[in-house]
């Protein structure tokens, strides 16, 4: 598993979540996070199609055609779960009642701008709940590889892709984790950055 950067990113992002938080998990790497949470993590997963209290995928005999997540995958509901309509679901999001949104991105700008719904020159016909989540969630964590499949930096000085929202991202988790150096980071970004005092630097 440690060879798969997506799983390493998900495992690290899981450590950013706190007991009692309501968390919305996007498609892709964020959806890998639950496997790194303890059963008693105290984290409530919200899915924007109308459920607070998402449980693990169903066994075959638990499969219920009325129970899916926003990625349209079958899920279960945990004890204490609540269902609601889409207007209430997005009132929760827009109203700041969802503590944390974890989602993927195509680009993140150095001021926290995020582009994660459209690629220039391709169709711009699917936005879903992305804009609502990054504007409304109290904290936005982006999980993504540091560079695109063609090697281009994804943490950039200025997003060139259409924005989802400006100045919305709080944290970015990439595969550059334990053992990465400041030079490693500098090599894969065009963004200006400072090094936090809490970061241990080794020669």
């Amino acid at each position: 598993m440690r060879d798969d950067p997506r799983l390493r990113i998900a495992a690290r992002a899981a450590r950013e979540l706190h007991p009692g938080e309501v968390v919305n998990l996007g498609i892709g790497i964020p959806n890998l996070i639950p496997r790194f949470l303890e059963d008693d993590s105290g984290i409530f997963v919200h899915t924007e199609n109308g459920l607070l209290g998402v449980g693990p995928p169903p066994d075959g005999d638990e499969l219920d055609e009325d129970l899916i997540d926003a990625a349209k995958r079958p899920i279960t509901a945990l004890p204490g779960a609540a269902y609601f309509d889409s207007a209430q679901s997005f009132a929760m999001i827009r109203g700041g009642h969802v503590d944390t949104a974890v989602l993927g991105a195509l680009q993140v700008g150095e001021r926290g701008d995020i582009a994660n719904w459209a690629v220039p020159g391709k169709d711009v016909l699917g936005v879903g709940g992305a804009m609502d989540l990054v504007v409304g969630a109290r904290r936005v964590i982006v999980t993504m590889t540091a560079t695109s499949s063609s090697g281009e930096p994804k943490i950039v000085d200025r997003c060139s892709f259409p924005l989802t929202a400006a100045a919305a991202v709080d944290t970015v988790v990439t595969e550059l984790l334990d053992g990465a150096t400041v030079d490693d980071v500098a090599a894969v970004t065009t963004a200006r950055f400072a090094v936090d005092d809490a970061v241990t630097l080794r020669a």
């Binding site: 899915t47 924007e48 199609n49 109308g50 459920l51 219920d64 055609e65 009325d66 129970l67 899916i68 997540d69 926003a70 349209k72 509901a77 269902y83 609601f84 309509d85 889409s86 207007a87 679901s89 997005f90 009132a91 999001i93 827009r94 459209a118 169709d123 711009v124 016909l125 699917g126 936005v127 879903g128 709940g129 992305a130 804009m131 609502d132 504007v135 409304g136 259409p162 924005l163 989802t164 929202a165 400006a166």
Partner: protein, 219 residues
């Protein structure tokens, strides 16, 4: 107290006429009124339709069937992309597309049903989806003016109804259905099961019967 006469899906879709705006419930196919959609595909000639639905079905399924018949002039959705044929239709100029953030889409329908003339939301400000829309800074945050959505006919699905038209939705099949039931001139409900009046717990009713005009039991 007047119970609604149960009707067939074929009769119910006669309320849809050419040029109408039709709201269709469902998140993908979950909670979509599939029998009503099939009746619209097979037993109605109404065309030039504006469809308000989170997705335009899937290829050859749900609203994807209506799309293949070329009867959708315009789609208002948050996620056309789940049906690649809808994307192709837009790119070929065969269908107009209005894309809204999903929360704005839901709230616009709620506003339409609740008599609200529009609302300001911070979602979408400064993005492509705010182009051409009025913006206003409220409490220091840029907001976008979004207009309510209304329809001629809403097609919704509920797991249970009673004979008055009270509706109860199940699990994540609720989604946009209760909103759409409020926002149309004629609301047609397809119910998985139709109960006698009094059999639905009053406090469990999600859509009170005054919103529902036509009731169909899913075959």
């Amino acid at each position: 107290m007047t119970a609604l006469a149960l009707t067939t899906a074929e009769e119910a879709v006669a309320h849809v006429t050419s040029g109408d705006t039709v709201m269709v419930g469902g998140f993908g196919l979950v909670g979509a009124p599939l029998a009503l959609i099939d009746a619209l595909v097979e037993h109605s000639d109404a065309t030039d339709l504006t469809i308000v639905s989170n997705n335009i079905g899937e290829p050859g399924r749900g609203l994807g069937k209506l799309l293949r018949q070329g009867r959708i002039r315009r789609g208002i959705s948050s996620y056309f992309t789940s049906n690649p044929e809808a994307v192709d239709a837009v790119n070929a100029g065969e269908m107009e597309a209005t894309l809204l953030p999903q929360g704005t889409f839901a709230e616009a329908i709620r506003a339409g049903g609740a008599g609200v003339g529009g609302f300001f939301t911070p979602v979408g400000a400064g993005t492509l989806l705010a182009e051409g829309k009025e913006e206003r800074v409220l409490e220091g945050v840029t907001h976008v003016l979004e207009m309510p959505l209304h329809a001629d006919v809403a097609l919704v699905y509920a797991a249970r109804a009673d004979r008055l038209g009270n509706l109860w939705y199940r699990h994540t099949a609720r989604n946009f259905n209760p909103l759409m039931a409020t926002a149309a001139r004629v609301t047609v409900a397809e119910a998985g099961e139709v109960l006698e009046v009094g059999e639905l717990e009053p406090e469990a009713i999600h859509t009170p019967h005054l919103y529902v005009d036509v009731l169909v039991e899913r075959p």
